[in-house]
Symmetry: C2
Subunit: 157 residues, 2 copies
DNA sequence: CTATTTGCAAAGTATTTGCGCCGAA
DNA sequence: TTCGGCGCAAATACTTTGCAAATAG
């Protein structure tokens, strides 16, 4: 079966080699924001011959073709996620390093307008909120916000 | 004469050594978003004995005390700017790497609300827009937006 | 005086590259 | 068959650290 990313590779005219296919599959299945080491570790389970260098080369390639986006999310190493039609943003727990994704459609519109105001066409945007969990008082209301993913986090910076 | 940052250091109970004073002054005077090398080069003109390691140690210290904020702004190396009362954001020209600062007060409010909705207290936020200059049509309207700084940019990533 | 800080050089991370062999188209 | 991709190891880029000498409070 062909993963979403494999299809994008073909559409972009990329040669589909074994390693690329493996990495593409990993990327399609993993959730969260893996860094290169994680990707390498996972790809390694599909094909132990895949080298770290290839993972680096592949994510760079995918990024250049708009298939992946690079984030920092408060960690030192680069972390990646698939590009979506609409942007979503990240809320990072300063203590644990956990990342929560959230949507905020108005924001993108607003930012597009800001860019235009300065004579720019918006290509992409990164929004990272750093916060501390509220201990006390009113239980958080999360009645809106469609998708929402929490991940275990690497190092709490 | 004492720089703004020097004052902040004293308030934070930091020992004011020669190197720190020099770096603080550089930071107060430079505009833009210098990386560690730039700071070192500049500090070097004030006192040639200041080492790169000390610059690294000092920016880390200042960051921990909330005096400085670390940004990435599309480049690999960390870049710094003074913390202000209110956050401002960055628009990066994908071609040249130039950085434009802009204010968007509503945004911070909105983001604070989003964080609260997820049960978090907002500590800081980073917003980076990546854009391409509009060649054609209507001259950009910049009648609002208070402050605005453009800087020459290091490497266009 | 004493606990911190500094410079230096060496060690650590994160990422990229040169090169000869290998495989997809 | 051909050209680009791959693994490997070495190179590079950025940042941190151990240690002995220097210094702020």
């Amino acid at each position: 079966m062909e993963s979403r990313i494999e299809r994008l590779c073909v559409e972009n005219g990329l040669k589909m080699t074994g390693p690329r296919r493996a990495i593409a599959r990993i990327l399609s299945e993993v959730d969260g924001h893996p860094d290169v080491d994680e990707l390498h570790r996972l790809a390694h389970t599909l094909d132990p011959r895949i080298s770290l260098a290839t993972v680096y080369r592949t994510v760079r390639l995918f990024e250049q073709h708009g298939i992946l986006e690079r984030r920092s999310l408060g960690s030192r190493r680069a972390r990646y996620e698939m590009s979506g039609e609409h942007d979503h943003f990240h809320l990072i727990d300063q203590e644990s390093g956990k990342v929560i994704e959230f949507d905020e459609p108005e924001t993108e519109t607003l930012m597009r307008r800001v860019a235009a105001r300065h004579g720019f066409d918006l290509i992409s945007l990164k929004i990272e909120l750093f916060g501390r969990k509220l201990r006390s008082e009113s239980p958080p209301d999360r009645s809106d916000d469609a998708r929402q993913t929490v991940e275990p986090a690497g190092e709490p910076r």
